[in-house]
Structure formats: structure tokens, C-alpha cells
């Protein structure tokens, strides 16, 4: 029996899990696991041909159960997501080795559980990505959900509550998908992709609607699409440090993967476009687009309100998911490329940001934005990473976030969707505002007295962060590298492929050359610097050397404006969306609670005989009459 590269990858991943389970209590467990992730990454690189063509690698295992055949395979889409998964796992795991692990253990954390849960997450995600039919897709989907639950719940306390919320949402989503799969099975007679592709053409629009709602809703839960987004931020934020970096980078993208696979590849965006909503001008695709846009706006502005760095980032993660979906739903060459590229870009900067924040927590013990400040003098490298990250997140040049967002905007304009464009821009504004709050409250202003002895993060943390920062910049400079993968993904899922160059895209509908853009940008910086320094008017001041209202502050009073950030803005917009979804969620829960009470009352009421009698009566009456 010969192993295909996919077999090797899955075996490697399984072995990682086993090593984590068996040796996870040992001293060097973290390093071992990290090395094994490296091995997985190498195997993936061995399959790199996938990223540039539409070949398929099959796993040599397949099952035949209860008349269903289960198989696994990798194509460009799987490979692209798997690359991000394994890379972020590698870096997060690397980040956690050494110092962080030690301090985690000191705080009573279970390192064994952490490593095992991480390895399990990666393993299940690879299984999901490799799925070769709808059933194995669902199996992978459920596995990923539960593995995520494990990682989220392990911290106990608040985290467990958040994880419970997550699993309820995830189960609801999972069950919607399950129902959808049953409907597909009935319509197509099989769960193989090929059979579904042919069956889709024969489906009535009602059937298609139901499927779109069930699959879209089910997968959307994982992505944190709008009505179902409440679970995500607390669940990710409360996960132990590097775990949140990993989850934030890739976990909710599994939802996007499934949407791409099922809604875009199998059902086809054209079919979805033809599903009109009665009595309105919009169709299912517009609906998805608008959901995506609201997913961008609302969570982003919610993020602005957060006072905890991790929560702020996690809320942003939801919003960025909206860009990806928006790009994919626009579905021309540029939009698709933008959405998919954003998956990659988002993973890089989100991981970097979470890591930077974790590094700050590691050194200072808090992530409360009102208790930090001025750390730039103590942790300059972390500051650099965070700065790179937020530039990426805000979608500004020269980082990679700019490229993907530009592609999405450009395609919106090309396709004539100005309203969506406008909304997306509003989202970006919110992003810029809130990431400024992040970097300002942590690193700028004056250093707090209790943080005067803080040291830079240890190298075991610093190196992965710096690698990520480098990737963010390099793929910003040469977006052609990931765009090559993105183009073959587009081919695989049946969207028009984008024409890319090393520096960006080159097509009739618009071109972007980042090498040129960045060149100009740095030239501008250079000119500015020359002017600035040649003028000789600059003067170095100490961080504490400042005054307020013309009044010098003494050195023992630290001046940091952080509480109630953006008060005016929040006052202006807060009323529009404050807690409305929380209210929705709460009302659903109380409805369930109420029903539960009613049912318990039903069983508590003593009159069993009466039930029996009345049932017998109604049933027989139904027959007789």
C-alpha cells in the first residue's frame, strides 16, 4: 500500500494528537508538538502542486457504511485552508512553548489538555477540509465543533459559560446542516458531490431555498454571520492565549470553507442568484450580501465598545468574516479573489494581534484596556508587531489587508453595488477607529507605574510574532504569492479566476500593483523623513514629559486617556444596535425556558388518567368521525 501525501498529512496530524495525548504532560511536549506541526506543514508544501492547479489528491482510506460511502480528498480549496490551519497551529504552538506554558501551568492551567485540544482541533479541521462527500463533510463539521468546544471550555469559569453558549449555537447550526443533508440526500439520492451537482439543476426553487437557508444558516453560525454572531467573541476571547490566536485565525473560517464548498461550488452562485424573495427586489444572493455587510458593520462597532483587548479583537474577527463572504458573494474574479485572499490575510494579522496581546498579558497580567498604557517603551517589538497587525486589520497599505479589501471594494464598484460599497467603507472606518483604541490604550500614552519593570516578551513568543509580521508585510508587498493559490481555488469552486501578477492584479476591470504602491509610499515616507530631519526642528522628549491644560504634571501622576473611549461617537450610534441581538437571544432562551416549565408542569400535574382518557377519546373520535 502506498501512501498518498494526504494520507501522510492525516497520519502526521493524528500522530501529533497521539503525542500530545501521551507525552503532553512531559517537559518538552510543546516543542515536540510544534515540530510535528512543522512536519505537517512540510507535507502540505509537498502537496504544493495543489495550490497551482486543479488536481485532486485522494486519501487511500474510504468507508462504506450503511449504504453511504465516505471518502476524503484534497483539492486547491482544501489545500489553501489547510495551509492556513497548519501554519497558524504551528505558530501558535511555537508561541506557547517555553515561557507561556510555564506560567499557564503556574496559574493552574492544564497544559496537557491544551496541547491535546489544539492537536485535536487541527486534526479535525484537516478531516473536515479533506472531506470528499457531504457526509464526511458533516462528520468533519461536527468533529470540529466539538473539538472547538473542548479548547474553549478548558479554561473554566467564564470560558465554560461562553463555550456552552457556543456549543448550543453550534449544535443548532449543525442540526440545520444535518437537516439540509437529509434533504439533499432525498433529492439527489446520494451524498457524493458529483451526484449533487447534477441534481441541483432539477431542484425546484422551493427546495433550493430550503437548502440555502439550512446550509447557509448552519454554516453561518460557525462564521458568526449576523443573527448568530453572539457566541463567537466571548468564546474566542476567553480561550487561553495562543489558543485564541489559533481559533481567531482559522476556526470560524471553516464556516466559510463549507459555504464555499456547498453553496458556491455545489449549488452554484448562479442558482442562488435566481432565488427571488417574493414581493421584494432582492434575491437570495443579495440577502447573503447584505447579511455579510451587516456582519461587517455591527460587530465592528461593538468591538469599539470593548474594554478588553482580546474581546475587541474577537469582535473584529466576526466583522472581517463579513468581508470574506461579501467578496465571495459578489463572485466576479476580483471579488472572489478579495474574499479568499482576505481569509489568508486575516489569519496572519489576527494571529499576530492575538499573540501580541497575549504577550502583553503574559508580562502585565491583564488585558483590560483601561489598565494598560505606554508599554511601547518596555515592549517595543511587541508594539511593532501590533502596529503591523492593526494596519493590516484596518486595510491600509502597505500591509496585506489592504490588498484584499481593495479587491473587494473594487469588485463592488465594478459590479455596480454602491450601497454595499458604502456600507463596507463604514465598516472599515469603524475598524480604523477601534484598532486605534487598541494600540493607543496598550502601548501609547504614559507607562503605568506598576508596569515599569515589565520586560519585552520572551523570544519563544517573539519569533512567531515576528514571522507573522514579516508575512503580513511580504504578502502585502507581493500579493501575487497567495493570489496564485487563490486563483486556483477560484477555479476549483467554479468562480472566474483572477489574473494576478506578483505585485497584485492586472485586468481590464482594474489593476493593482502593490510593489509600485509600496514603493511610492516608502518614497513618500523617505521624502517626509528627509524634510523632517533636514529641518532640524525636532526635539526628543521623554514619555512622561507632557502637560495638560498648560499645567505640568508631576512624574508620579500618569496621564492616559483611555476610559470611555469614543464617548461621543458611542453616544451617537449606540442606541441603534445596543443589545438588540442580546435581547433576541434572551427571548429565545426564555421561550425555551417557558416551554420547559410548561412541559414539566404537564408531567407534574397528577392527572395521568385524564390524559389517557382524553387521548383515547380524541384518537378514537378521529377514527370514527
Amino acid at each position: 500500500m502506498t501512501f498518498t501525501p494526504l494520507d501522510e498529512l492525516l497520519l502526521f496530524s493524528g500522530a501529533t494528537l497521539l503525542v500530545a495525548l501521551i507525552l503532553g504532560r512531559g517537559l518538552a511536549a510543546g516543542w515536540m508538538v510544534t515540530i510535528l506541526y512543522g512536519g505537517q506543514l512540510l507535507t502540505l508544501i509537498k502537496m504544493a502542486a495543489l495550490g497551482y492547479s486543479d488536481t485532486i489528491i485522494h486519501a487511500s482510506i474510504s468507508f462504506e457504511i450503511m449504504g453511504q460511502s465516505l471518502s476524503w480528498r484534497f483539492d486547491a480549496l482544501s489545500w489553501f485552508f489547510a495551509l492556513i490551519t497548519v501554519a497558524s497551529a504551528l505558530l501558535s504552538s511555537w508561541f506557547s512553548c517555553g515561557e507561556w506554558e510555564r506560567s499557564f501551568k503556574q496559574q493552574g492551567g492544564n497544559v496537557w489538555l491544551y496541547h491535546s485540544a489544539m492537536a485535536l482541533n487541527v486534526f479535525t479541521m484537516l478531516i473536515l477540509l479533506a472531506s470528499g462527500d457531504l457526509l464526511s463533510l458533516f462528520i468533519g463539521w461536527e468533529l470540529v465543533s466539538w473539538a472547538g468546544f473542548l479548547l474553549m471550555a478548558m479554561a473554566g469559569g467564564v470560558a465554560t459559560r461562553a463555550a456552552m453558549r457556543y456549543i448550543t449555537y453550534a449544535m443548532a447550526g449543525g442540526m440545520a446542516v444535518f437537516g439540509g443533508i437529509a434533504l439533499v440526500y432525498v433529492a439527489a439520492g446520494s451524498l457524493q458531490y458529483e451526484a449533487i451537482l447534477t441534481a441541483v439543476d432539477q431542484m425546484s426553487s422551493t427546495q433550493l431555498w430550503m437548502l440555502v437557508v439550512m446550509f447557509g444558516g448552519g454554516f453561518g453560525v460557525k462564521m458568526g454571520l449576523l443573527p448568530f454572531h453572539l457566541w463567537q467573541a466571548p468564546a474566542y476571547a476567553e480561550t487561553p492565549g495562543p489558543g485564541s490566536a489559533f481559533l481567531g485565525a482559522i476556526s470560524s473560517r471553516m464556516g466559510l470553507f463549507a459555504i464555499l464548498l456547498v453553496l458556491v461550488k455545489l449549488f452554484g452562485i448562479v442558482n442562488i442568484d435566481s432565488l427571488k424573495i417574493p414581493f421584494t427586489l432582492i434575491d437570495a444572493r443579495d440577502l447573503l450580501a447584505w447579511i455579510a455587510v451587516f456582519t461587517i458593520i455591527l460587530p465592528t462597532f461593538t468591538a469599539m465598545k470593548q474594554n478588553d483587548a482580546r474581546h475587541l479583537l474577537a469582535w473584529h474577527g466576526i466583522g472581517q468574516g463579513g468581508y470574506m463572504l461579501l467578496g465571495v458573494v459578489v463572485a466576479d474574479a476580483m471579488g472572489g479573489a478579495g474574499g479568499l485572499l482576505h481569509v489568508f490575510n486575516h489569519a496572519t494579522y489576527q494571529a499576530a494581534l492575538f499573540m501580541a496581546v497575549t504577550a502583553v498579558i503574559h508580562r502585565t497580567g491583564t488585558s483590560d484596556l483601561n489598565k494598560l498604557g505606554g508599554l511601547v517603551v518596555r515592549m517595543p517589538l511587541s508594539f511593532m508587531v501590533l502596529l503591523v497587525g492593526i494596519i493590516g486589520l484596518a486595510g491600509l497599505p502597505p500591509m496585506n489587508g489592504f490588498v484584499s479589501k481593495w479587491l473587494v471594494y473594487r469588485s463592488l464598484l465594478n459590479e455596480g453595488m454602491p450601497l454595499l460599497f458604502l456600507a463596507a467603507v463604514i465598516g472599515t472606518l469603524g475598524t480604523i477607529l477601534s484598532v486605534y483604541k487598541l494600540i493607543h490604550n496598550i502601548f501609547l500614552g504614559q507607562l503605568r507605574i506598576e508596569h515599569e519593570q515589565v520586560k519585552e516578551a520572551p523570544w519563544s513568543m517573539m519569533i512567531p510574532m515576528l514571522i507573522l509580521a514579516a508575512i503580513i508585510f511580504i504578502t502585502g508587498l507581493f500579493p501575487g504569492i497567495p493570489l496564485a493559490w487563490v486563483a486556483s481555488v477560484q477555479e476549483v469552486i467554479g468562480l472566474p479566476a483572477t489574473d494576478y501578477t506578483l505585485g497584485g492584479v492586472e485586468s481590464v476591470s482594474g489593476s493593482l500593483d502593490m510593489i509600485w504602491v509600496i514603493g511610492v509610499l516608502f518614497a513618500g515616507f523617505g521624502i517626509g523623513a528627509v524634510i523632517f530631519y533636514s529641518a532640524g526642528r525636532s526635539k526628543r522628549v521623554h514619555q512622561l514629559d507632557n502637560y495638560a491644560g498648560g499645567h505640568f504634571l508631576s512624574a508620579d501622576v500618569r496621564y492616559q486617556y483611555s476610559d470611555n473611549f469614543y464617548a461621543g461617537l458611542m453616544h451617537l450610534i449606540g442606541g441603534w444596535y445596543r443589545s438588540s441581538f442580546l435581547w433576541l437571544e434572551k427571548s429565545v432562551t426564555s421561550l425555551v425556558d417557558f416551554f420547559s416549565l410548561v412541559m414539566q408542569g404537564l408531567y407534574r400535574r397528577a392527572n395521568a388518567e385524564f390524559y389517557l382518557l382524553s387521548t383515547a377519546l380524541f384518537v378514537i373520535a378521529w377514527v370514527v368521525i
Binding site: 392527572n607 385524564f610 382518557l613 382524553s614 383515547a616 377519546l617 378514537i620 373520535a621 370514527v624
Partner: protein
Amino acid sequence: MRNLTGLLFAGGLGFMLLSIAINLDFGTPTMLIGGAIQSNALQKTGATNIVTSVVLGYRGIDTLGELSILFAAAASAGLILGRRHTTAGTQTAGGFVLRHGGSMLFPLLMTIGFYIIFHGHLSPGGGFQGGVILAAAFFLPLLARPGAQLHHGTLSLIEGLAGASFVLIGLIALQQGKAFLQPMLIQDTLGVLLSAGTLPLLYLAVGLKVGAELASLLSHLAQTESDA
């Protein structure tokens, strides 16, 4: 309100079932099984009372199940009531009539009971009816004399052995290559006590078991607890 609905529902259910049942062919049953049994009951079981041949032959396992139910009921009642050690006897001593009548009735009832049991395959009656009379015979002295001990040990011995012999008679048939509970030793004579082979034996087992079971049930119900 609930009373009214309850009443209405019960009445309505009864009425509806009646409207269904009235469509049945009353008085002219198809007798698919019954007819066939009637015509070959005598050869197969040797009993002239066809009900007996059905009870012990054709539906022998029903009877076994029924004995088991009685056994289970008696055992459960014993579990429930006989948990603590009890002083046997009723709360009150019997009156004159009861005391003397009881002792006079005892042999009479025993005779009648066994008669009914043994003629179950010939005439109406059999193990159940006879068993009930046996139970009454055992129970009467208990009512009459407060100090009288009903021998629970003996009773449970009887009930156990009687039940076991029912099963064993069935198993012997199985052992001899026949079916479980198949009647044996049938003689082709009509209306004679020994005509029905194992059937009277089975009925004897049934009678003894029912009698012992019911007697122990009754005594459990009748006795007071020392620490109630």
C-alpha cells in the same frame, strides 16, 4: 370543571366504542379458531370441557404466565407488606359462629375445592375456582383464631413446588421430544376422571398454586404489624 370534562370524555369514549362495537356480527362469531378447536380438542387433550383444554392445552403458556402473575403479585405484596416481622393473626378474635363454623367448614371446603379441581376437565370449574376455595379454606381458621399461625413456610413451599411442577410437566414433554407443555398420556375415553392425561395434574398444580398464593396474600393483608 375537570369533573365535568372527565365525565363527558368517559361517556363519549364509551359511546364511540359502542358505535364501533355495534357493527360487529353479534351472536354469529366466525369461530375460526374456536370451531377448529372444538372439533379436535378431545383427540388432542382428552378433556370434555373444551375451556379446560384451551386453558391448559392450546393456551397453556397463557396459564403459566397467569400463574406467574399471581406469583409475582403475591411475592410483591409479601415484599411490600411483610417487610417487618409480623405477629400473625387478625386484630380480633373470631366470634362464636366464625370459630366453630370455621373449623366445621374447613374439611368441607377442602373437599369441594379438590373436587372442582379434579373435575375441571370434565365439567365447569377447575384449578382457579378450586384454588380460590382452597384459599378460603385455609384462610377461614385465620379469621377465626387470632393466634393461628398460617405456615408461610408451608405455603411458599406449596406455591413454589406447584408452580415448578407445572413447568416441569411441560419440560418433561420437551424432554420426550414433544413440544413444551404438550399434553401427554391421553386416553380416548369420554368423561372419565383419568381420561385427560396430564391435564388434571396441571390443574392440580394450578389449583394448589392459586390456593397457596391467595392464602398467603390474604394472610398478608389480614395480619397486623407489631410496630405499625
